[in-house]
């Protein structure tokens, strides 16, 4: 029963990683860049929700929408100001810029909200704890919401990518930017939109993360960001189902590793598994092998 409880916690943590990983993988797939500032957008989203609840007196649903809306604007702004001018630059220049952007966001957050940790209000998700098997397995409301949110996001995003015009345009840009332009697709607008979606999801992830682990500070997003990036690579960067599977596996491995092997080595186990997977499948679990037909 303890195993089951650990498994559920792993699924919940993995769901958060998966939602963050979606942002990494979509941006990588479409803009062909690693947006290392993505983890920090999560932190900004959590701070916005914190302010909305604590200072602006908004109900939870409005706090969620405010965080999503402002993060969307933030994502579009970051892309437009920092990454778009580098569209023709080497990928290394873009990578360094992304790392710089990450530190900029952390330091701005410290300037605005201070370095002291804030405790995230528990009012965000108020659901009763679910008791199963005569109280032997307890699942908190936050855990349930997190797992459900992940499932809903996955279904909506998959439908969006496969059915809508914008979703199809995203797939075209991901595959061949030049050919996409020949079809009449505005590549800049598509990339901007991708950042918007990724950043709105980051806000959701930030709120879920801080509801489960209610300590909020300017560096809150960085470790989950790196883990989610790992999850995206693990699942096959560029692949949406890959990000989902990678995120969930990573969360489960982390929690089970901490529970049964060593608490201290939890993170090391996660990264060791990543290295082993990449040795055997360099493109990740669901990554596309590079092939071309002549």
């Amino acid at each position: 029963m303890i195993f089951l409880s650990n498994l559920v916690n792993g699924l919940s943590l993995g769901s958060i990683y998966a939602i963050i990983a979606l942002g990494y993988t979509m941006v990588y797939g479409i803009a062909k860049m690693l947006n290392f500032a993505h983890g920090d957008v999560i932190m900004v989203g959590a701070y916005i929700a914190f302010c909305a609840l604590q200072y602006w007196g908004m109900p939870p649903i409005l706090a969620l929408l405010a965080a999503m809306g402002l993060c969307t604007v933030l994502g579009i702004t970051i892309e437009g100001l920092a990454y778009r001018p580098l569209r023709q630059a080497t990928s290394l220049a873009v990578l360094i810029t992304a790392i710089g952007m990450s530190y900029l966001l952390q330091n701005l957050a410290q300037l605005i909200w201070g370095a002291n940790p804030k405790s995230f209000p528990p009012v965000m998700i108020q659901l009763p704890t679910l008791s199963l098997f005569g109280d032997r397995l307890k699942i908190s409301g936050v855990t349930i919401v997190t797992i459900l949110a992940n499932i809903v996001i996955m279904i909506l995003l998959t439908a969006f990518i496969s059915r809508t015009k914008m979703g199809k345009a995203m797939r075209c840009v991901s595959e061949d930017r030049g050919a996409a332009e020949l079809m009449g697709i505005n590549v800049n607008r598509t990339i901007s939109f991708t950042f918007a979606v990724g950043s709105a999801l980051a806000a959701v992830a930030g709120i879920l993360l801080c509801s489960a682990y209610p300590i909020l500070m300017p560096t809150t997003g960085s470790m989950p960001g790196i883990k989610a990036f790992t999850a995206a690579v693990f699942g096959g960067i560029g692949s949406i189902p890959g990000a989902m599977i990678g995120g969930i596996l990573l969360g489960v491995i982390e929690i089970l590793g901490k529970a049964y092997i060593s608490t201290e080595l939890g993170d090391a186990i996660v990264f060791a598994v990543l290295i082993i997977v990449l040795l055997f499948r360099p493109t990740g679990l669901l990554g596309k092998p590079i092939r071309e037909k002549v």
């Binding site: 345009a169 075209c172 595959e175 332009e181 020949l182 079809m183 037909k293």
Partner: protein, 235 residues
Amino acid sequence: MSMLEINDIHVFYGAIHAIKGVSFEVKEHEIVTLIGANGAGKSTILNTIAGLLRPRSGQVLFEGKSLNGIPANKMVGLGMALCPEGRRIFQQMSVRENLEMGGYSRPAAEMAGSVEDAFKRFPRLKEREKQIAGTLSGGEQQMLAMARALMSKPKLMMLDEPSMGLAPILVEQIFDIIRELHQAGTTILLVEQNAQMALSVADRAYVLETGKISMSGEAKALLQDDNVRKAYLGS
């Protein structure tokens, strides 16, 4: 009236001067072909017209309007389509989706039935409708690339090496399709290494040599020209 007019364009790849002052025109309802060896700059010219590359100087006029500064994604809306070298179909998407993307620039209401029309012209694609495009044979991929470009109902269709890598029987088929398109009223700018086929289908031709036009004229006349025959037709 000339549909497309190229005035003294110079195109660079970094420091490499790839196109050194090329001028030519394509009149309405013509088939014009650019022939020349590998690396002469044929694809560079088409990519420049389509806006994927920018000329450092010179002008491209489409229906009398300068295309300078117009982004590549707006070109298709003006009525030109490029079927690019190497086909560049969307390998991970289905045949139907590829066709739908070809009509991306047109309003959804106008698109009704367009995919079915494409299937009428290319029945082989109908059989492959749901198949992922990357799994098609080379000839089918070329047909898909052409069908996709046609989805935008272009006035000017530019084709870059449509016969490349195809078996002779398929090359014949591709050229039959080009003739059909022309008869249906589409103006065509064709870039080919297969000079024999290109000259036999075209009205006029330009011969490109290392970034410059070395010869031009009626396609029939060039087909008989000794220099052209020696250099490009192997006889």
